[in-house]
Each structure stands twice: as C-alpha cells, then as structure tokens.
C-alpha cells in the first residue's frame, strides 16, 4: 500500500517541477534559444551564446553524467533530514542538452565517479507544517559505473 503523501513544495519555485505522482521524476526548468538552440539551466531571458532575446522556457529530464563531484563532511545546510547530518555529495552534472548543473548528490562517496550516469530525484530537505520542502538530488544509476 502506498504511503499517504504529504504536499511537496520546491525549495524555490521556477527551478524544477514537482509532479503530483511521487513515482514520477522531477524535470529541470531551463531555457532554450529559439535562434541557436543552446540550452541553459537555470532560466535566463537572453541567450548567453548568441545574445538573442528569442528564448523559451524548456523542461529537461533530470539526468546526465558526472563531470566532477565531492563529498562535503558537514551537515547539508538547512536540512533536518538525518541522512544529511554526516555530510553530502555534490556534483557537476552534464545534461545531454548541454547545460552543466551543480547539485547535491544522493548516495555514498564510493558510488561517485567522473562519467557515471546519474538521475535526479526529489528529496525532502525538511518539513514545513503539513508540507514537505523538497530539493533535487542526483543519484548514480545502478550498473552505469
């Protein structure tokens, strides 16, 4: 039986989607240039490559490969989740569309490797009354090492 779901809200609006279905993965909200097709994350008004103002919001699947990573030996700032108390991974993720994203990683340090495929998931950072504040963390994909 599925656990009763509490309403989930993003830590900051406009950066990623929070699907109603908890089984569904979040998507990253970025921008694509309608002239040169360069993609950006997070959103921006003017294309940083060709400086065109003809840009549109785009949702990108939260997945990619690890460009680099670290493991921080301090609690994740702002988190009351016990899993984050001993430290947390951080990665730079290259999305297939081009943007490089900096985000916390889920999993153990030994699982992180340059070039490894990762997938974004929503994690509860802390509770706020009846709702949960969520962030996106990228977790190494099984068997991708």
């Amino acid at each position: 039986m599925a656990e009763p779901t509490r309403p989930r809200v993003p830590i900051k609006p406009g950066f990623f989607t929070v699907p109603d279905d908890p089984a569904e993965a979040p998507r990253l909200i970025g921008t694509k240039c309608l002239r040169c097709d360069e993609h950006f994350y997070p959103r921006r008004a003017i294309c940083a490559k060709c400086l065109s103002e003809q840009t549109a919001e785009v949702e990108m699947e939260a997945r990619g490969t690890i460009y680099s990573y670290t493991f921080v030996h301090l609690p994740l700032f702002g988190s009351t989740n016990m899993e984050h108390a001993d430290g947390y991974g951080v990665g730079q993720i290259d999305l297939p569309e081009g943007p490089r994203v900096q985000a916390p990683l889920a999993g153990k340090q030994a699982e992180f490797q340059v070039g490894r495929q990762v997938r974004g998931e929503l994690n509860v950072l802390r509770s706020d009354g009846a709702q949960d504040i969520v962030i996106v963390r990228f977790r190494p994909v099984e068997g991708s090492a």
Binding site: I11, K12, F15, E38, F40, Y41, P42, R44, A48, K49, Y67, S68, Y69, T70, F71, V72, H73, L74, L76, F77, G78, S79, V90, G91, Q92, D94, G98, P99, R100, V101, Q102, A103, P104, Q109, V114, L125, I135, V136
Partner: protein
C-alpha cells in the same frame, strides 16, 4: 597615460578579532602605516577608494572619517574576493589618467562577524547557497585528479609551503611555530574531499592599504628608495562557453585567468618567465595549482612535476604566495588583494626580511611581481609591479 607607482603600503595583521577591533580601528592601523610608509599625511590624499565587502550603507565613507574630513572624493567598490584588487585598479587608472597625483586604497573586512550572522549570506532557498564554497573548489580538484592524476600530496605540498611562508610574515593570520609537513596537512580534518581544513583559507578579519601616485612623487618622497611601478592592470569578467556553470559562481571559468594574464603580459611587455614572484587567489590549494598553468608559470599538465621540484617555493624558480597566500596570511575579503600589493611592494624594495625573494641565478633582489585575484568566480583582476 602616466606611469603609476606604489608610494606606500600598510597592514593590520589578519586574524580572528570577533567581538573586538571594529573595522574602523583595523583600517586606521593599516591606513596610517601606509601613509607613514609613503611619507605623506591624510590631507595629501587627492582621493580614496575603499574596499569593503560585508558593508552597510555608507560604511566606506564612515570609516574614512576616522582619518579626517578633508572633502576628498571617496568611493566604495565591491567585487567579492577581488574587492581590494579592483579598488587598487581604479586608483591606478585615475592616477594614470591624470585625475589625481596621489590616491589612497583601503580595504577592510570582518569575516568572523559575517559568519556569525550568516543567514544573511547563505539562504538555503538558493540551492547553490546550500553548498559550501569548499565544495565548488573540491570539484575542481576531483576533475584535475581525474584528468591529470594529481595526488592529495601535491595539494598538501602547496598548503605546507604557504603555511611555512606565513610563518615568516608578521602580518600572517596563520603563523605556525613549527615546520608544517605534507603529512600534517593530509591529516587535518576533511572539509570537502579531497580538500582538508589546512588546504583551505581561514576565516578572519583585517585591513590593508596602499597609496598610489606618480613615480616623480615617489622619488621626491624617498630619493634613496627604489620606485615600485604598476606596469599593468587588467580586470576580466566571464565569457560564455558550453559547460558554463550559472549557479554558485564561486570558481569561475579557467579562461578568465588566461585572458587577464595575457592582457597584463602584453601591457607590461614581458612574459611569465620574467616574473620573480607571484601572488594568487589560493583560497583553496587546488586554485594555486591551476593558476600555475593558467598564468603561464608552467605548461598545462606540468604543475605536479613543478610542485615536486619545489619550483614555486621561496628559493625556487618563481616563488608563489610568498607571504603565506590566502591559505596562511588569510582572506578577510576587502583587504586581501591589497595584502598582495603590500607583500609584492616590500619584496621588490628588498624589505621582506626572512622571506625575501632573490633571483635564483643572479641572487639579485626580486624585480618583477604579479598579483592575481578572483572575485566570486565572476571577475579576475591582475596587476604586475616592477622595481624601476
């Protein structure tokens, strides 16, 4: 454009002064020391440029009132870690353009107070603010290890060098009383793998000041002292390239340091081989390693071999972070770039005491120095100073 010289320098030792020593007190110590060093008094100043990062409204002008109320133009400039360097640049440009004959550049900050009230600076609502600066630089190190086979020992050797240089600098925040070994650095607490506490700059407070003016004035004030000229100044911001990180711009594109250094070499009419000493933004040791290559002190991929040879230690081919760097001398913020000017000026005058740099081949006192600072990964400021 006219030539510009450094007429005087002064510092308040960097350190942890939380709950004591307000900014005004540290700034006054550094500023008066620089005025005395120049042989000038405050009413001689045509203008003042104030570098203060964690600033409240009018804090630049307010601190300047401690020196006197002489009606001079005062500007506060902020560019994150490169704040002091950016102020220095503006003062040099103004003197060079002929607007002023002499200008004061003063930087001060209290990082300890900023950290104590840190919710102002780090809001968990911003994903990137939830990640420590150490993490961003650690990822640069991880990538380097992946591409070049860099070892934590290489990073630790840079840290040990800078601690041991700091021990010879009375203005250094970290002044170890025993020689720091690579092993000790590696055993210090892990912050963000592979960076340990001793591979990271400390949190601290302090002030530093430089007086800039015409070389003619420098000669008149101190006929027997060598004149230290500012040969080149460059400030670059980021250029877009695929893979650019728009969040948490703490490290910044490597290309900024390449572009800015090429510009100063061209302005000065010299190359990296002509440098006798270099100061860099070594907030974390991986930065210093990367800047060896980005500034052209060695070829890409050679940094590790150079570290093993001791090329960048005092007595080596081109000493780097001779005053301890951000790692040991400290990094309060606003004054950091001016501490580099302080160090380089003393070195070029031959007044750096136990850490004095001499040319490896001839034994001559160092003649040319470069100062490099990054600001929030978003700007790079470089100056070249030379004894004439």
């Amino acid at each position: 454009m006219r030539d510009v010289a450094v007429l005087g320098v002064g510092m308040h030792r960097f350190g942890s002064y939380y709950g004591e020593k307000p900014n005004g007190e540290m700034a006054l110590t550094a500023g008066m020391a620089a005025l005395r060093d120049a042989g000038l008094t405050f009413p001689d100043m045509n203008a003042a440029y104030v570098g203060h990062i964690f600033a409240t409204v009018m804090s630049g002008v307010r601190v300047m009132k401690e020196f006197g109320l002489t009606g001079l133009p005062i500007q506060r400039i902020e560019n994150a870690s490169a704040t002091g360097s950016a102020c220095f640049r503006e003062a040099c440009l103004a003197v060079s353009a002929g607007h002023y004959d002499v200008a004061m550049v003063l930087g001060f900050d209290k990082m300890t107070s900023m950290i104590q009230s840190s919710s102002a600076g780090t809001a968990p609502e911003n994903m990137e603010d939830a990640i420590l600066p150490a993490a961003f630089f650690a990822m640069w190190a991880t990538r380097r290890m992946h591409e070049r086979g860099t070892k934590p020992e290489h990073l630790a050797r840079i840290a040990a060098k800078n601690f041991n240089n700091g021990a010879m600098n009375p203005m250094s925040q970290r002044q170890p009383t025993e020689t720091i070994s690579v092993e000790k650095v590696l055993k210090s607490r892990m912050v963000a793998w592979p960076l340990t506490t001793m591979m990271s700059c400390p949190i601290g407070d302090g002030a530093a000041c430089a007086i800039v003016g015409t070389p003619e004035l420098a000669k008149k004030l101190h006929p027997d002292r060598p004149v230290v000229k500012v040969l080149a100044s460059a400030l670059h911001s980021e250029r877009y390239e695929r893979g650019h990180l728009f969040q948490g711009p703490v490290v910044g594109p490597a290309r900024m340091s390449i572009d800015a250094s090429r510009e100063v070499y061209e302005q000065a009419g010299l190359g990296p081989d002509d440098l006798d000493l270099v100061q860099v933004h070594d907030a974390f040791v991986i930065e210093e390693l990367e800047y060896y290559e980005l500034l052209g002190l060695c070829k890409p991929g050679e940094a590790e071999a150079c570290i093993e040879r001791g090329d960048f230690e005092i007595g080596g081919r081109c000493p780097v972070s001779t005053d301890g760097g951000l790692i040991a001398r400290g990094h309060p913020g606003g004054p950091t770039g001016l501490a580099q000017i302080w160090e380089t000026t003393l070195q070029l005058r031959g007044e750096a005491g136990a850490r004095q740099v001499k040319r490896q081949k001839t034994g001559e006192i160092a003649r040319t120095g470069l100062c490099h600072m990054m600001g929030g990964g978003s700007v790079c400021v470089i100056h070249i100073l030379q004894r004439s």
